[in-house]
């Protein structure tokens, strides 16, 4: 069987989701942002919410997310995406509203907005990319940086006496009464990507059903900031990030 024969007469198994446009993404090679963008685009398409989605992009590497996924976007001030999303959702209750934020935006500058929006039971979804570093500004220490992890602002590794402890936002979100679904996923292997997609779908559905606020944390990598190849950074993530940020659902009250 020739290549042309398979392409012309065979079934299409996978192609880039239609909502993800042709604009080349500015992310570094191997950055999980692209994978998560693909999942979000696929889920919106699968749910048939193409014309009824309003997303909020943050400040950070994913600031240009609005260039790549063809839905309606708003750009928030640094850390304020959940506040903006709350307003949008209250004005348009039938819309699918989600924010897409990194750890510098969500877990540092926007901690107050994040926690209060989640606790107010706003029917929004927050997609939180946790790569334990400020990637866009050159790899500075973030609140989520692991103990002992080296960054450009803690070149000898993060230590408790000087920098305090890493912040587990998903664990905080899970104890808030306003949240419906809190989960922690990753996208480094094919099964993990499928699970992450299912988690995003579930969160979007709960937010549309008005069951409460949802947080999907994606434990991620920053190969440029960590100064590693994409392959090594995924390995480092598995060995160091995943034990500290354990994967799985932390809370799911939507089933009842």
């Amino acid at each position: 069987m020739t290549r042309e024969e398979i392409i012309n007469t065979g079934e299409l198994v996978y192609k880039k989701p239609e909502l993800l446009n042709e604009t080349p993404m500015h992310y570094c090679p191997g950055c999980p942002h692209g994978t998560v963008h693909k999942l979000v685009a696929e889920v919106i398409d699968d749910m048939g919410m193409r014309d009824k989605t309003i997303a909020v992009s943050p400040v950070g590497c994913s600031v240009f997310a609005y260039r790549y996924i063809d839905v309606d976007w708003e750009e928030a001030a640094h850390g304020r995406a959940p506040a903006l999303a709350s307003a949008i959702k209250r004005l348009w209750p039938d819309r699918l509203v989600f924010t897409y934020q990194g750890d510098g935006d969500l877990a540092c500058i926007g901690t107050a907005e994040t926690i209060h929006a989640l606790n107010r039971k706003e029917n929004i979804t927050i997609i939180f990319i946790n790569n334990a570093i400020y990637g866009m500004t050159g790899g500075q220490m973030a609140p989520t940086t692991l103990l002992g992890q080296k960054t450009v602002t803690c070149p000898y590794g993060r230590e408790v006496a000087l920098h305090g402890y890493p912040l587990k936002i998903a664990d905080i979100a899970a104890i808030l009464p306003g949240t419906c679904y809190v989960t922690r996923q990753t996208v480094h292997t094919v099964p993990a990507i499928r699970k992450a997609k299912a988690a995003i779908r579930k969160a979007f559905e709960y937010s549309l059903q008005g069951k409460g606020s949802n947080l999907v944390e994606i434990v991620s990598t920053c190969n440029s900031g960590w100064k590693m190849s994409p392959e090594k950074s995924f390995k480092w993530m598995e060995e160091n990030m995943v034990p500290f940020y354990p994967l799985g659902d932390l809370k799911d009250t939507g089933k009842e």
């Binding site: 392409i7 065979g10 996978y14 192609k15 880039k16 993404m25 191997g30 994978t35 094919v190 190849s229």
Partner: protein
């Protein structure tokens, strides 16, 4: 099962994740040629053994890969 992988070589950034994800070693990065962005892009080298599992396409962060599959008659 026979598969075929089509790569958008101009979009590819040569991150090597698809090469690692392929269970059969179908893909490889080009050793010498680069695309207009200067990246060594991925391309199928052992196309005859591809089963069209789409692992490469699923892990590709830039969505450069399209996968087709056909049953052997």
């Amino acid at each position: 099962m026979h598969g075929a992988v089509v790569v958008d070589t101009e979009r590819c950034k040569g991150c090597n994740l698809c090469v690692l994800a392929c269970p059969l070693g179908v893909l490889e990065l080009t050793p010498k040629t680069v695309n207009t962005k200067g990246y060594h892009y991925t391309h199928p080298v052992k196309e005859d053994i591809c089963i069209g599992c789409a692992s490469c396409a699923i892990v590709c962060p830039d969505g450069c890969i399209t996968v087709y599959r056909k049953k052997e008659e």
